[in-house]
Symmetry: C2
């Protein structure tokens, strides 16, 4: 097998599938130990997802928030990185099957394949309402958003113009709130500065939530604050409106029809379908139930961490699908595997330490929930920025993102307003109402 | 028409097609004059093409070297920007036809549509050997290059591995030389740091030139220096070898067959087909002959500037297709049109001022040809870097590029090693020789 052409007899093998927050943390914790580690991912890069909405809204470049997995793990000589797709697991033979038909043996298997957006049975909506999980999707959203403005500038039909300038964000979680705030700021700036035939009052940003409130995981005082700030930025928040239909240019939520030029999906996630490899029906959102040591119930050599796992907090409640849970699970599991495989020691159960929950609404406005106390406003926004810069992967990215944020703060300019392809080809002739 | 819903009687209209170096310079020179200017481009952004090879080799992000045309021209209230594609010109009616069937009137028309790569009748080669003109192509090349290394890491067939690690650059002009040097540096670094199963001596970078020497526009002492530096970096230079065939994994040049994982085309350009709009057969490389005032022969109201125009130097020789020629022609024409349209003054003929010619070979190695004197080596490289940072569009980009270059100089790391899509899908199963 490729990860050890000259295997040392007796060196234990750990295979980690997925190099997100969870998988990378587990790999790092196993770094430079006397264990052969193989990390498999379908992509060549990791991604700092909390800032992906800034790529979608033209504030940052993809490379600012991602790094090749090889580079992240390059310093650990015991870790191999494979660009491949896992298609199945043979738990009896202890092998992982890869696309192309080959397979890879393991002593311990770690499944950290994350989550994907849940369209609740309407996968056809995905075409018109992309989620925000990959660089590809972020670029797609950026392109649609910017193209809608370009088309609106060319249109001479006021209704069409208004529809093109309406963005609909489905789902009132942190990602939806962040996208809505960022789109409102971007749109207002572009209309003021760069477009001649568009007016502020023609632009709408609508945040649609099926439940009774947005930011459901946050306490009420923060939600009220967020609502006020969103309103100030020009975002309309509609609650109790489950989405009924999504087409190219219209969203129907409850009985409300909204014509739109750009739809973004952020309404809940489901676990990756990795459970199928083991014949497991996932529970809530397809997540795989795990034991206190994060092994999958019934499979003591196979572990699940991050969004794909359904871990339980000490109070018996399911842990949320958050980056900090994924990271802590990865760190715990890497260390536990090392102790078990090398010293035969059994680790205690995984314990989640809540570092607080945050969302940013826009310029100078963010919220933090630390459980016992909360923070909002300018100070929260500054803390949010500092924490997120700190969490970036290296000094270069921290410097680059800081400079771009400071630049943006001072000028309101966004540096990455690129439509990648031959953009004119995307403008259908019917919307080009130039005089003939 | 869209560029002036409230046209002032008598305000002259200038339409500029293409927002590259030439078109933008012309538009800027017309900025805030009492003239209605419309700039039409198929893309929403301009592009600093001299650094595009750094996007293709993962050193910079697309947004570092491009800016929305709207933003560049946003400060001039008399300039409209249209994202559209021109399909024809009616010189008698003085209108430009757009995709979608609409049309736009002009008093003066400026054609600045640039050039494209010339495959000399073999347009099918384009699929396997993309040129380096757009962000899309730069990303495509980056993706192929990085994927070839990923495939090589997985391959267990030494011949296949060697083929995948062989890059072929066709065309020994500045772009070809810059790409070859940058790929050699990138490949060597990645093999040392990030790949476990690849060796330096398995990597090849081959620069193929049909003529007797590379960098034909430069004096011999600089060419000799460039050859030595390329050799040091690990680039093989093959001259007098016209390319006979290009397929997915093989280039045949003369009688030499080279198996390869990544082919890049840089072998000569031809003018955009704008001449066809006027029924003009272009001359050398399809370029449109222009008068000393840059009007197209026989069309006193239509001007051609930049790569698409065949201007003549004072000695009667054709001007080269260079950014500095384009920029100077744009500046001259913008000023001349303003004087003519507003004051009725006729401008003197266009005169090109040669600012010198440069190419960069790699770390610490560049060449400058200023006509009377030349410069090479470390100092030339530093000058090259300073000039190119200075030529970037604003302070933010200058700062971002400087930081990335300094970071790269110190660490040899390249920040943008991204394969964008679901990369594993690109790895065909036949190359995945993992043990079964």
């Amino acid at each position: 097998m490729p990860q050890a052409s000259m295997p040392q007899a007796g060196t234990p093998r750990v295979v980690i599938v997925g190099a997100g927050f969870a998988g990378l943390a587990a790999a790092r914790a196993l770094g430079n130990a006397a264990i052969d580690v193989t990390v498999i991912d379908r992509r060549n890069h990791n991604l700092f997802q909390p800032l992906l909405y800034q790529v979608a809204t033209a504030a940052l470049s993809p490379a600012d928030i991602s790094e090749p997995i090889r580079r992240t793990l390059g310093r650990y000589r015991n870790i191999e990185v494979m660009l491949a797709e896992v298609t199945g697991v043979d738990a009896a033979a202890r092998t992982v099957r890869l696309n192309g038909g080959s397979s890879l043996p393991y002593d311990r298997l770690v499944i950290a394949t994350g989550s994907e957006y849940n369209y609740f049975g309407h996968d056809d909506w995905r075409t018109w309402a992309p989620g925000l999980k990959t660089i590809h999707e972020a670029r797609l959203i950026r392109q649609r958003l910017l193209l809608a403005f370009e088309k609106a500038e060319l249109s001479r039909d006021p209704d069409e113009k208004k529809a093109l300038l309406t963005s609909v964000i489905i789902g009132g979680g942190p990602t939806g709130v962040e996208m809505a705030g960022a789109i409102a700021e971007l749109g207002r700036f572009m209309i003021t500065r760069d477009f001649r035939k568009l007016e502020h009052d023609q632009m709408r940003v609508v945040l649609v939530e099926a439940g009774p409130k947005i930011l459901a995981a946050f306490p009420d005082n923060l939600v009220q604050y967020a609502l006020r700030e969103l309103e100030k930025t020009g975002v309309e928040v509609l609650t109790n409106l489950p989405v009924v239909s999504v087409t190219k240019d219209e969203v129907v939520a409850g009985s409300t029809r909204i014509r739109t030029g750009c739809v973004i999906w952020g309404a809940g996630v489901k676990a990756s379908p990795a459970g199928k490899w083991l014949g497991i029906e996932g529970k809530a959102g397809g997540r795989i139930p795990v034991e206190p040591d994060l092994s999958i119930t019934g499979f003591p050599d196979i572990f699940a961490i991050g969004d794909t796992a359904l871990g339980l907090a000490e109070d018996g409640k399911p842990l949320p699908a958050l980056a900090q849970v994924a990271k802590q699970q990865g760190e715990y599991l890497g260390k536990a595997l090392k102790e078990k495989l090398l010293d035969g020691k059994a680790a205690g159960p995984f314990r989640f330490h809540d570092r607080g929950n945050t969302a940013v609404i826009g310029r100078n406005a963010a919220i933090f929930d630390f459980g016992r106390w909360t923070l909002k406003g300018h100070v929260a926004w500054l803390l949010w920025a500092i924490v997120h810069v700190y969490l970036l992967v290296n000094f270069e990215k921290r410097l680059l993102v800081s400079i771009q944020w400071i630049w943006r703060y001072l000028t309101r300019q966004r540096g990455a307003r690129l439509i990648d392809e031959n953009a004119a080809a995307f403008v259908p002739s019917s919307t080009q109402r130039t005089e003939t």
